[in-house]
């Protein structure tokens, strides 16, 4: 899995990664919910997990990490990486391999 920053417009607030395979998605989401995330499905095929002030938006294997815009500039990368690590842990905890060691784009 690799973490990429979307450099679109709001600085460092939106990041993306992909889960290794379709079968990983549901058990990973369930694990995150067990760990305290709240889950909603605002659209068909789209899941939104609220984790603290942040959110993970999942469609297929695509996961978008949306940080709260209140996150101070110099903490945004750290917060994104923290959520990314939590996501990888959830993949592993679901008994699946493929998360690897995790890499992030420059």
């Amino acid at each position: 899995m690799k973490l990429s920053r979307l450099a679109n417009c709001t600085r460092n607030l939106t990041w993306e990664t992909r889960l290794p395979e379709d079968e990983v998605v549901e058990p990973t989401l369930r694990h995150l919910v067990e760990r305290g995330a709240s889950r909603a499905q605002p659209l068909p095929r789209l899941t939104r997990l609220e984790i603290g002030a942040h959110a993970l938006v999942v469609v297929g294997t695509r996961v978008q990490i949306r940080l709260s815009y209140l996150t101070p500039d110099d903490e945004r990368r750290y917060e994104a990486e923290r959520l990314f690590v939590a996501l990888m842990d959830a993949v592993r905890a679901a008994g699946l391999t493929g998360a690897g060691d995790g890499r992030r784009s420059p």
Binding site: N8, C9, T10, T14, V59, Y69
Partner: protein
């Protein structure tokens, strides 16, 4: 928002125009909003630009607030002020704190007003700003104060004295009494029949209509958070009064036509470019979003699919009934509107124009053709300023737009032919 107030929202069938309390409203993102306001200031200067923007906001919000107060049965000033604040926040403009005396004077403060906060978020690291940006909040606060205390229209003026875009801790608007000024009669839903035309079917019509309906339904559930901001599609979104956008653009251009006719073309170019900014940022980020992938598809590189997507997005945002009756990929695209949000305002306020005036629609048509043909959507492009500059500035454009018909001139439709250079 209570049911009684929610029911004040309406859609004009076949026209893809949206109304709140009878006032036309549209969705725009912070990139567009900041560019729009900056363009007004570039044309008029900061002081006159702020004055126009504040006045236009006051005039645009008055009918909405009056309708909301009426629907809610709010008669006490304190009720009205509270309700006005809730509406402003629900629309994504931030949640100001208003403290107003019975004579209409007072202050409005806020740490997360849309314009100031978004400006700081976008430019704060690179640019030092010396002028406040929250003319919309200033105008809104003035309108709320007038209506809360039954004061004549145009009798309260908002002046922003502190602004987070200027690195102040919070924005602060001072409200003072001024001699009432007559307001132009605002364009309202009940007047639209005089200006809208029957819808036409374009290419991919059924799919465009279906996607627009779906996206409109999704947007209907989007509202400001506890700070009154909407952070969606990787941008800050506002539901905003169309009369605000129209008054500020048309009054700026017309002021220049009286004062400095030689440079009117430059101002018109700026407002057409605002259409590029809108399509690139708002449309582009919607197409790249997980929500779009869920509702429609993962974007690919077929230009026709991107054009189809953009038409659906425009309709869902309340921009009007946009269609493409003719397209030859790589060469030519004809975009037409039987209704757009610009022309009714112009015709209502000024009568027929001697030249095309649908600036945003024209700029958007060109931008849609550029996004459809030059962006590799399958590669998940980064829609940042550098990419915008590469696509739309210098020699990068590669396409040109010609307005062949324009509803502000009395034509049945507005039509823009976009061709490869």
């Amino acid at each position: 928002m209570s049911d009684a107030i929610s029911q004040l929202k309406s859609l004009m069938p076949g026209c893809d125009l949206t109304f709140f309390g009878g006032a036309p409203y549209v969705f725009h993102c912070h990139h567009y909003n900041l560019f729009h306001d900056q363009s007004v200031d570039d044309v008029l200067g900061e002081e006159a630009g702020f004055a126009l923007r504040s006045r236009a906001a006051r005039e645009a919000f008055r009918p909405l607030l009056a309708a909301v107060f009426d629907a809610a049965g709010a008669t006490l000033p304190v009720e009205r002020i509270e309700l006005a604040t809730q509406i402003f926040a629900a629309l994504g403009h931030g949640r100001p704190s208003l403290s107003v005396s019975s004579d209409g004077t007072g202050v409005a403060t806020g740490t997360h007003l849309h314009y100031g906060f978004a400006w700081r978020e976008k430019y704060g690291k690179q640019v030092k700003r010396f002028d406040p940006v929250d003319a919309v909040a200033a105008g809104f606060a003035a309108a709320a104060s007038e209506l809360a205390h039954g004061l004549p229209p145009g009798s309260v003026e908002g002046t922003e004295v502190n602004c987070v875009a200027m690195q102040h801790e919070q924005c602060r608007v001072s409200l003072s009494r001024v001699a009432p000024t007559p307001l132009a009669e605002p364009l309202a839903e009940r007047m639209m029949a005089d200006y809208v035309k029957p819808p036409q079917r374009g290419l991919w019509e059924d799919e465009v209509a279906a996607i627009a309906d779906g996206l409109r339904g999704f947007l209907g559930g989007v509202a400001g958070d506890e700070r009154g901001l909407v952070h969606a599609f990787n941008v800050f979104v506002t539901a905003h009064m169309a009369n605000y956008y129209n008054e500020t653009i048309f009054e700026s251009v017309r002021a220049l036509e009286e004062r400095s006719p030689a440079v009117v073309g430059a101002a018109e170019s700026l407002f057409r470019e605002a259409g590029h900014v809108c399509v690139f940022n708002t449309f582009g980020n919607i197409i790249l979003s997980p929500e779009w992938e869920s509702m429609v598809e993962k974007p690919g590189d077929d230009p026709e699919r991107i054009v189809m997507s953009c038409l659906a997005i425009a309709r869902s945002l309340g921009f009007g009934h946009w269609l493409v009756p003719e397209m030859k990929v790589g060469e030519r695209m004809v975009m037409r509107t039987t209704t757009n949000y610009e022309a009714p305002y112009y015709l209502h306020r000024y009568g027929r124009s001697a030249k095309p005036r649908c600036y945003i629609t024209t700029g958007a048509a060109l931008a849609i053709a550029v996004l459809a043909h030059r962006v590799k959507w399958s590669e998940s492009p980064t829609l940042d300023q550098a990419y915008y500059d590469a696509l739309f500035r210098g020699d990068g454009l590669g396409w040109e737009a010609e307005v062949t018909r324009d509803q502000t001139m009395g034509d049945e439709v507005t039509e823009i032919v976009v061709s490869r250079r």
